[in-house]
C-alpha cells in the first residue's frame, strides 16, 4: 500500500474546454430559474448583476465574458457555481457542470504556455483525468480586473 493524495474538484464546461475548481471553495450550485438578475450600473461587462439568494446579495459573473469568450444564451444546462472568494460569495455562470472528480495530485502539472485560451494568471495547473484534461482555475484571482 502506498499513500495517495487526492483532492475533489467540481468540473464544469465553458465552450469546448473543461475546467475545475476545488470543491472546498464551492458553497453550492444553483440554476437561475426563477431568480431575477439586477444589473448594476458602471460595472465591467462580465458582471451580469446581483441576485438575491435567500436574502443574501450575490454578484453574478459570466465566466465566459470574464475570460474573453463570446456570450452564450442561457439554456437548460447552465449553472451558477457559488464560490467563496476572499470571504465573499460570488456566483459564476458556466455552460454546464459535468461532475465531481477526485484527482490525484501527481496528475496535476504546471500549465504550459498556450494550454488554454484563457490568461495563465487564472490557472493553477492542468490535470489529466481518465483521458480528459481539466484546466484548474485559480479563482481567488478572478474578481479583480486583468493585471498585465
Amino acid at each position: 500500500m502506498y499513500k495517495e493524495e487526492t483532492t475533489q474538484f467540481v468540473v464544469f464546461r465553458l465552450g469546448l474546454e473543461e475546467y475545475a475548481i476545488p470543491i472546498l471553495k464551492i458553497n453550492e450550485i444553483i440554476r437561475l430559474k426563477g431568480i431575477s438578475i439586477a444589473e448594476v450600473p458602471d460595472t465591467h461587462e462580465y458582471v451580469l448583476g446581483i441576485i438575491n439568494l435567500r436574502g443574501e446579495v450575490i454578484p453574478l459573473m459570466d465566466l465566459r465574458l470574464r475570460f474573453g469568450m463570446p456570450k452564450k444564451d442561457l439554456d437548460s444546462n447552465h449553472r451558477v457555481i457559488i464560490v467563496n472568494i476572499q470571504d465573499k460569495n460570488i456566483g459564476l455562470l458556466v455552460d454546464s457542470v459535468s461532475e465531481v472528480a477526485e484527482i490525484h495530485h501527481e496528475d496535476i502539472v504546471q500549465p504550459l504556455e498556450e494550454i488554454s485560451n484563457i490568461n495563465t494568471q487564472y490557472i493553477t495547473g492542468v490535470a489529466k483525468h481518465k483521458e480528459r484534461i481539466f484546466v484548474i482555475l485559480d479563482i481567488d484571482n478572478i474578481i479583480s480586473p486583468e493585471t498585465i
Partner: protein
C-alpha cells in the same frame, strides 16, 4: 486581582443589592421601623467594606455616605421620607451599574458629587421639617388642591410643569403622585404640600397660568396639622417603584433575530402584493376576504415584531452624552474659557450600532464648539455677550428620524476668513470661490485638510476634522445640517435613521435602474411638464438649473450619472429637491414608484477599485424590495460633492 476574590465580591454585591432593594421597598410601603433601618445599615456597611477592599473607591464613598444617613435615621435624627428613599433607589441603581461595569472591566465612575449633594440637600430639608422653629424663616407651609380639566391628555406633563414652577418659588415637599410614573397618572384631583414665602393668592395665580388647570385651592397648614402630616404616611402611590426584571442577551443573538425579522418583512411585503393581485382576481370570494384579513393581521404583527426587536437593540443616548460635561469643563478650563454645557434629550433611544458610530463625530463637533466656537470671556464681553458661553447638546425624534444637535453661542463661521483659509490651504482658487454661494462655501469645512482655527490646538484642528465627521455620518445614512450665524454661533445637526438596516425611502426609476433615496433628505417633489420646461429650467454653464423658492439649484439627471450619458434630456421629468448640510440639488428622474420601507444590504464587500463591482460611485448600498428585487440606495452626499468638484474642473478648463 485574584479571580476567586472578584467572583466572591460580585456574588455578595448582587445579594446585598437585592436585600437593600427589598428593605427599601418595605420601608417605603410599611414605614421605617428600627429593625428595618438596622438591616439596611448592615447591608450598606457590608457593601462599603467589600468595595473598599476591591478598591472601587467611588462605590466605597457612596456607600459610606448612605451608611451615615442610615445611622442618623437610626438615632432618630431624621426621618426617611419618600424623597430620601427615592434617592437611595437611584444610588442603588448606580451601585449596580458600577459593579456590572467592573465585572466587564469597563470604565465607569459614579457621579458621587451629584448624589452626595442631592442627598445633603434632602437631608437639610428633612431636618428642617422636624425642627419647627427653623422653618418659620423659610416661609409658610401650604396644602394645595388642584383639579385638572378632565379632558386633559397631558395630566402628568401638566403636574410636572406645576411642580417645576412652584419649585422656583419655594419647595415642593410632597405630592399625591410621588413615585407614580408620570405617564401612569390618573384622576383629576391632586394634592401638593408646598413651602414658600409667597402668599396663598400668589400661589393660586401662579398655578392658574398653567394650561388645563380647572380649580386650585391653597390653604395654609397650621403647625399642629403639620406635625400630624409628617407622621401619617401617605399610602397612595404604593405602586411606586416598578421592579423590572432584566436578562442579559448577547448582541449576536439580537442581530440574528433582527436579520430573521428583516427577511420576514421582505416576505411580508411580497405576500401583501400577491394578496392584492388575488383580490383583484377573486375579490368577491368570502375565502379571499378572510385570507385578506389574515394577511393584514400578519402584516400588523410583523410590524410590531420588527419594532420590538429593534427596540431591544435600542440604547439611550445618555451613555454617550454623559462623557461630555467633563470633557467640556476640562477643555474650557485649559483654554481659559467659561462654558456651560446644557444637555437635553439624553433619554432618546437609538440603535446600538448607530450609537457606536456617532461617538467620534459628536465628540469632534463639541470639541470644535469649545475650541473654535466659544470665545474667551474678554472677547465675549467686547461683543456685548455674557462672559459665559453656552453649548447646548440636544437630541430627540422627529418624523421618523433622530436628530442630535450641537448649538453654540460663539462666534460662528466668518465667511471671509473661511475664504482666505481655503485659498491659503490651496483647497480652492480665487475664481472658484467667486463662483460659489455662501452656502456652498460652508461646505468647504467638510473638505479634507481644512481647519479654521489660526493656531492648532492639541485637541482639534489637526486638519482631519469635519471631513471625517461627515464620512462617518454618511456611512450610517445620516445627514449633517449646518446653520451659521456670524457672531452669534453655529448649530450643527446630525439627522440619523432610527436603525441601520431599515430606512424609509422614496423609490424612483431612471433608465433601467431603480433607486431608493433616503426620505430623510427629500424636501419636495416637483413635476415638470414639457410645456413648462422652457419657462422653469434655465442653463448655467451648459447645465440645467431651476429656481426653487428663490434659490438657484442645479438639476442633476440621475440618468446621466449612471452610464447613460448619451440619453437625450427629457423635457418632462420629475424633480426631487434634495437637501443635506447646506447644499440642495434637484435630482431629475423619469418616474417615482412610491414611498417604501426598505431593508438595506451593504455592498461594501464587493466594491472598491479591484473588486467585483468596482467603485460603484454614487451608490451606498442596495435595498431588497417587497417583490424581492433590488433598488440601489443613492449616495446623495457623494453626488453633490462630485458636482461641486465638477464645477471646479469646469472652471479650470
Amino acid at each position: 486581582m485574584d479571580d476567586i476574590l472578584r467572583d466572591a465580591f460580585y456574588e455578595e454585591a448582587d445579594e446585598m443589592f437585592q436585600e437593600i432593594e427589598d428593605a427599601l421597598l418595605e420601608i417605603d410601603g410599611q414605614g421605617a421601623t428600627r429593625e428595618r433601618i438596622d438591616n439596611l445599615f448592615r447591608y450598606m456597611h457590608t457593601l462599603k467594606g467589600s468595595s473598599s477592599a476591591m478598591e472601587i473607591h467611588d462605590m466605597a464613598k457612596l456607600t459610606h455616605h448612605l451608611e451615615d444617613i442610615l445611622g442618623q435615621a437610626r438615632e432618630g435624627e431624621l426621618t426617611l421620607g419618600r424623597d430620601i428613599i427615592n434617592l437611595m433607589f437611584s444610588c442603588l441603581d448606580q451601585l449596580k451599574i458600577r459593579v456590572a461595569k467592573h465585572k466587564k472591566d469597563e470604565i465607569y465612575e459614579i457621579d458621587i458629587d451629584k448624589y452626595i449633594s442631592t442627598l445633603n440637600n434632602l437631608l437639610n430639608a428633612s431636618v428642617h421639617v422636624q425642627d419647627m422653629s427653623q422653618t418659620e424663616d423659610e416661609g409658610k407651609l401650604y396644602e394645595i388642591k388642584i383639579k385638572l380639566d378632565e379632558n386633559s391628555i397631558f395630566k402628568g406633563a401638566r403636574l410636572f410643569i406645576i411642580t417645576d414652577r412652584l419649585g422656583k418659588e419655594g419647595q415642593v415637599v410632597k405630592t399625591s403622585w410621588d413615585g407614580i410614573n408620570i405617564e401612569a397618572i390618573e384622576g383629576q384631583e391632586f394634592d401638593i404640600t408646598y413651602r414658600s414665602e409667597r402668599t396663598g393668592q400668589e400661589i393660586e395665580k401662579l398655578i392658574y397660568q398653567i394650561p388645563d388647570v380647572d380649580k386650585v385651592h391653597v390653604s395654609e397648614i397650621s403647625q399642629q396639622t403639620r406635625k400630624q402630616k409628617e407622621q401619617t404616611r401617605d399610602n397612595k402611590g404604593q405602586t411606586s417603584e416598578e421592579v423590572q426584571s432584566v436578562i442579559r442577551v448577547s448582541i449576536n443573538k439580537l442581530d440574528k433575530l433582527l436579520r430573521i425579522v428583516e427577511e420576514l418583512s421582505v416576505d411580508k411585503e411580497r405576500l401583501k402584493q400577491l394578496m392584492k393581485r388575488v383580490e383583484e382576481k377573486y375579490g368577491h370570494d368570502s375565502d379571499v376576504k378572510s385570507l385578506s384579513n389574515l394577511v393584514n393581521q400578519i402584516d400588523f404583527i410583523g410590524n410590531e415584531m420588527q419594532e420590538s426587536v429593534m427596540s431591544a437593540r435600542m440604547y439611550t443616548l445618555d451613555s454617550v452624552f454623559r462623557r461630555f460635561p467633563r470633557m467640556v469643563r476640562d477643555l474650557a478650563l485649559k483654554q481659559g474659557k467659561e462654558i456651560e454645557l446644557k444637555v437635553e434629550g439624553e433619554n432618546t433611544e437609538l440603535d446600538r450600532s448607530i450609537i457606536e458610530k456617532i461617538v467620534d463625530p459628536l465628540t469632534h463637533v463639541i470639541r470644535n464648539a469649545v475650541d473654535h466656537g466659544i470665545e474667551t470671556p474678554e472677547q465675549r464681553q467686547r461683543f456685548g455677550k455674557t462672559p459665559k458661553g453656552t453649548i447646548k447638546l440636544s437630541a430627540g425624534q422627529d418624523q421618523g428620524h433622530i436628530y442630535i444637535k450641537v448649538e453654540d453661542d460663539g462666534r460662528g463661521i466668518d465667511i471671509d476668513s473661511l475664504k482666505a483659509s481655503a485659498i491659503n490651504k490651496g483647497l480652492l482658487s480665487e475664481e472658484e470661490i467667486e463662483s460659489l454661494s455662501e452656502k456652498e462655501l460652508l461646505e468647504v469645512i467638510f473638505m479634507p485638510g481644512f481647519s479654521t482655527s489660526e493656531e492648532v490646538t492639541d485637541v482639534s484642528g489637526r486638519g482631519v476634522g469635519m471631513n471625517v465627521v461627515k464620512d462617518n455620518i454618511e456611512k450610517i445614512n445620516g445627514v449633517i445640517e449646518m446653520e451659521n450665524r456670524l457672531g452669534q454661533g453655529l448649530t450643527i445637526t446630525f439627522k440619523l435613521p432610527l436603525t441601520l438596516a431599515i430606512i424609509q425611502s422614496l423609490l424612483i426609476r431612471s433608465h433601467k435602474y431603480r433607486f431608493a433615496i433616503p426620505l430623510l433628505s427629500v424636501i419636495e417633489i416637483i413635476r415638470i411638464k414639457e410645456a413648462e420646461y422652457a419657462k422653469r429650467v434655465r442653463f448655467a454653464n451648459g447645465h440645467e438649473v431651476m429656481n426653487w423658492r428663490g434659490e438657484v439649484l442645479p438639476v442633476i439627471r440621475v440618468r446621466d450619472l449612471f452610464n447613460d450619458v448619451n440619453a437625450k434630456k427629457q423635457k418632462t421629468f420629475i424633480g426631487i429637491v434634495i437637501g443635506f448640510s447646506t447644499s440642495k440639488i434637484i435630482l431629475g428622474v423619469e418616474e417615482i414608484i412610491g414611498q417604501q420601507q426598505v431593508v438595506i444590504k451593504s455592498l461594501e464587500k464587493f466594491t472598491g477599485k479591484d473588486n467585483v463591482l468596482g467603485e460603484l460611485r454614487g451608490i451606498s448600498g442596495t435595498a431588497i424590495l417587497g417583490d424581492g428585487n433590488f433598488a440601489y440606495v443613492l449616495d446623495i452626499q457623494t453626488l453633490i460633492r462630485e458636482m461641486i468638484k465638477e464645477k471646479r474642473i469646469k472652471r479650470e478648463a
